[in-house]
Each structure stands twice: as structure tokens, then as C-alpha cells.
Symmetry: C2
Subunit: 336 residues, 2 copies
């Protein structure tokens, strides 16, 4: 059996209260008491039962991070940043995978929120639309990462997807491309990511007086490498094939690079490729991949700060917080 506060108190010949004081660095403890208790603590190798503490305090010092898929590099990189930052703040992060399935997402969210395991939730949602989210009564604070899915009454941290996409496409235009295609996502109402990126893409084309014909946008079921091939083939099959691809994720861009290679096209001489997310992998592809790089570090800190403020009881009205991004021009769009 585990050693309890009471055991320590008994050994030291003091009350549990005093032991608790020492364990929690309470201010007014006499040196003599300190010494006695510490000796007993060490001798018994006492570790507090965090469950009991959490039950008593109503707070656990743990937050949940709900991600669609941990194997998606963007999410694992984001998770890394969040775990890092949280550990500096003395917070434990419980990472959980939702599979992007709305029902599982909801289920996990409900559990996380109602079971008192966690003080708060960081939710990166793809599939879950605003309506479903609105139906969730939140006993614990929730901060959304990524796109704001509809007008949910939640804090939300992300980048300006429209502007970032416009920048990416403008970069392609500046380098002399004219038939620029977009790849990724469903453009469904619930897929806010693709809607916003498509909007930025079209805005850039329109501003430059370039065609925005429908055939230049190829949807994909998800945003993974394996989803790109079909889309690329469809685009290349057109009588006037594109001379540049703007992919809504780096993984899609990498899948596209592979398919272009199989089709015998050279990047960037025949066709340019730009991605989105700046995952580490993109620096090592051949050619290396131009990408929009959201400031993941800042997303992590901002999200955590916001969540901690809510947990502490902040009652401001929900805010949409935007963090920075960069366009990183690499070989896939620059070296001729």
C-alpha cells in the first residue's frame, strides 16, 4: 500500500496538517517542524496522491489536448510546443486523439469536460462544426485551436488563414506563375480550413486578374500525403494544366511532389508547389518545400495563457486571437 500523509504524520509525531503544510510549501512553518517532517517524508519516500488532492481542491493541474490525428506532423509539432510550454507552467498535458470523427470528438470532449479529470481543454477540431460544439455545455473552459468553427462562444487561437493563403498565392504569381491550382479539403461548411484557404487563394487570383475557374480547385478527402495523387492527376489531365499548385497542407504538397515525380514533371521548373503548415519534413524533401509557417510556438503560448486565464476565472467575452505566420520560400517554388 502506498504511504499516506497520515503515515508520515505518525512517524514524525505531528498532525497531518503540518505535513501537508510542508509538502505544499506553506509559508508559516517552524524550522524544527520542517526538519522533523522532511526527515519522515524522506524516510517513507512519500508521494502525494494526486487523485485525492484533485478531488479535494477541485483542480488537477492537468489539461487535455484533443487532436484529430497525432500522426499528422502538424499536430504532433503543435502538441510538442504545447507540452513544452505547459511543463514550464507546471501543467500536465493529457494528449488524446479524436480521429477527427465528430462523434468521437464530442465523446472525448464530453468526458474530458465533465469528469473532472482536467481543468481545461485545448481542442483542435476539424470535423466538428459549430452547431455540435454549441450543444456542449462546458463545465470546464475550452479553447479552440485552428479555425473558428462557426460562431461558437469559445476562445480561439489561430492564424489569419485567408491572408496567409493570399500571400502564398501572391508569391507564386510574383514568380511568374499564371495557372495556379489549389488542392485540399472538401470546401464543406464544416471544413472551415479549406473554405478560408480557398477564399484567400481566390482573392489573390482575382486581384491579379488571373483565372479562378472551378477546375483549378481539386478537393481531397483529408489532408494527408496519400490524398494528393488523385487530385494531382485530375489537374494534370486538364487541357490547360496548372503551372503551380497551392496545397492546403504540407502533407498534401509532399504527396503532390511524389505524384508529379511519377508523372515525369519537374519541380519547380515545370511546375511550382507551395504547402501550408511548415512541418519539419518539408525542409528535407527534394526539392525542399515552400510553405506557410504558422507560429506554432506562439499558438501554444497564447492558447495556454488564454486557457489558464479562463481556469482562473476570467469572465471576458470569448476572443478570437490571431498569431503570426511566415511565408518560407524554398526550392519548390524558387530555384529554376
Amino acid at each position: 500500500m502506498a504511504v499516506t500523509l497520515r503515515d508520515v504524520a505518525a512517524l514524525a509525531g505531528v498532525s497531518p496538517r503540518s505535513v501537508s503544510n510542508v509538502v505544499n510549501d506553506f509559508r508559516y512553518v517552524s524550522p524544527a517542524m520542517q526538519a522533523k517532517v522532511r526527515a519522515a517524508l524522506d524516510e517513507l519516500d512519500y508521494k502525494p496522491n494526486l487523485l485525492a488532492r484533485g478531488l479535494r481542491q477541485g483542480r488537477t493541474g492537468t489539461i487535455a489536448l484533443l487532436l484529430p490525428e497525432i500522426t499528422v506532423a502538424y499536430f504532433s509539432e503543435l502538441a510538442h510546443e504545447i507540452v513544452e510550454r505547459a511543463s514550464q507552467l507546471g501543467i500536465t498535458v493529457m494528449i488524446d486523439e479524436t480521429s477527427g470523427a465528430p462523434n468521437r470528438e464530442l465523446a472525448l470532449l464530453e468526458v474530458a469536460m465533465r469528469s473532472s479529470w482536467v481543468d481545461g481543454v485545448l481542442l483542435s477540431t476539424l470535423g466538428l462544426n459549430g452547431a455540435a460544439l454549441a450543444g456542449v455545455k462546458s463545465d470546464v473552459p475550452v479553447v479552440l485551436l485552428g479555425e473558428r468553427t462557426a460562431k461558437s462562444a469559445l476562445d480561439h487561437v489561430g492564424i489569419d488563414n485567408v491572408r496567409a493563403s493570399r500571400d502564398a498565392v501572391q508569391h507564386l504569381i510574383d514568380s511568374g506563375r499564371h495557372r495556379i491550382a489549389a488542392i485540399g479539403g472538401s470546401h464543406a461548411p464544416s471544413d472551415m480550413t479549406s473554405r478560408l484557404r480557398l477564399k484567400g487563394y481566390r482573392a489573390a487570383l482575382r486581384a491579379a486578374g488571373l483565372p479562378t475557374e472551378d477546375y483549378l480547385y481539386a478537393r481531397t478527402p483529408k489532408y494527408r500525403r496519400g490524398d494528393a495523387a488523385v487530385a494531382v492527376r485530375a489537374l494534370l489531365a486538364h487541357p490547360e494544366p496548372p503551372d503551380a499548385l497551392f496545397c492546403f497542407s504540407d502533407e498534401l504538397a509532399i504527396g503532390s511532389l511524389r505524384e508529379l515525380y511519377e508523372q515525369g514533371l519537374r519541380v519547380p521548373s515545370d511546375i511550382s508547389v507551395v504547402g501550408f503548415d511548415d512541418i519539419e519534413e518539408s525542409r528535407f524533401t527534394t526539392p525542399s518545400l515552400t510553405s506557410i509557417s504558422p507560429d506554432k510556438h506562439q499558438i501554444a503560448s497564447t492558447a495556454l495563457e488564454t486557457l489558464m486565464a479562463r481556469i482562473a476565472g476570467s469572465d471576458l467575452r470569448p476572443r478570437a486571437l490571431q498569431v503570426g505566420y511566415q511565408l518560407l520560400a524554398r526550392e519548390s517554388s524558387t530555384r529554376q
Copy 2:
């Protein structure tokens, strides 16, 4: 405030005990009671407080998965398999990042093990050697993933690294390569992975009567993409440069592909490359990457089964469980 068992009992006009019975699907409950309680449950939207339940029962239904780095694709893919399998078993997985730093690894391990948060721990360790592990008194069961770090008294699930490495190198030999270099890891006593893979590599070379000279092994600080470039340059600088690279991880292999490209060498015509881990990315590189593919699915199930058995009280002596692997020959070692 959250709604408690007592609230439900009051509304239904029964005792907390009866509510508990219904919530936990206890056998002997009258249909009338069932109905009354369920109605109250629904009306109040009751969710049990898992903290209190865990405290009471001494079990939480949660296990910890401790990984060096979540951004390493191999680990995130493994994590995915484990979360998947665990969710089928009704177990929640708490993923935590140790940064591979032995002290942080130990710290997290201690916390996980002593604080009653989790019923068990799956530990994938790189840095932590057997001696340090032996010093940890485990209040909860621990199962090791990957290499067995020394003769620790813990269960352990992994593949036969020596044999897998020998197979990989044999494959290179079979395809006509003669100067085969190895890349990765420190070969330090604590880095069991590189020791075992190096052993298999050398065994294959010796068996074929090929040179195993020291200059053909290039160490790397870690196993990431960015660690490969220096190693590759060193190998190529030698008067008799290798005609094949056996990399101890896919990430290293991918970093190597990039560096070989920069050096103007073509894969596989000038030089073959083989990796280890079979991460998804490796199917999309150009050329696609030949790799050893450990059965991650089976690692996940075996590890979970073993851990659950321990949690249930199994008292068998610690076992080393080996699961299967495959050599997947792709373009980087086959297409001329």
C-alpha cells in the same frame, strides 16, 4: 457545481447506493428502480466524477504512454496504434513527452507511477539506461517498448533488432552492394538501439566476408533528419566511399537522401539507402525508401495486453516479447 450521485438520488427519491448500482450496471436492480434512476440521471445529465471513483477504487482506467519525442514519426505512429487499441479496451491513454532526457524521463515516470493517476505505464525509453530504471520502485506496472535497456526486471515488447538489421544489410548485399555504411546513434552503452542494430549490421557483413571497418560507421547525436547530413558528408569524404547506407531510422535515411541529393549523388544508381521504422513519410520520398517495418500494430496490442495482465495482478516473471517485422524493399535500394 457539478451534479453528484447524491443529487440524483434525492431527485429520484432513492439512496445513493441505488444510483451507483444503476450507473455501474450492477446485477440486481429492480426494473422500477432502473427506470426511476435513469430518468433522474438523464434529467440532471449526471456524469460520474472520475477522480472520486478512482480514489475510491484505487484504479483509474487510465494508463500513461511515455515517449521521448512526439514529433518523431515513429513514436506518433506507435502512439496512434496504442490509443486505438486502448480505446477498444475502454482504457484512456495519457501521452506524455519525456524529451528523451533521462532526468525528465525519470521524473515523469516517478510521477506517473506514484501519484495514482494511472494504473500502468508504457515506457518507450531511449536515454534511460537499465541502472537508472532499476532504481525506480514501481508502485504501478511498467512495460517497456523498444529495446530492453539492460536486465531491468520489467516486461518488454519489441522486435529482434539484430536480426532485422542483418536482414536489411543482407538485402543490400544481395543487390550487389559491397561497401555498406551504417549511420545512426551513439553506440553508447545506454543507446541500446544503435548497439543492437550495429551488431546485426556487422554480423551480415562478416557473414558475407565484406569489410566492417570502423570508418563505415558514422554516429549521430540523435535519430532525426537533421542529424544525417554531417554523417553522410563524413562517409563520402573517405577515399573509398560507400555504395550503400544502412540508416538506423527512416528519419536519418530521409536526411541522408537530402544530403546525397545536395552532393549530386543519385539513389539508388550511385548509392542505395535503407532505413528503419517504416514511417508513412517513407512511401512518399523520391525515391521511396526501403525500410524495416516493425509491426506497430502488434507492438501496441502485445504491450497493452501485457500491461493489463500486470494491472490485473499477474505475477509471472518479466518477459521479453518479440513481435514481427518486415523488410519493405522500395525504390531507394532496388530500382536502377
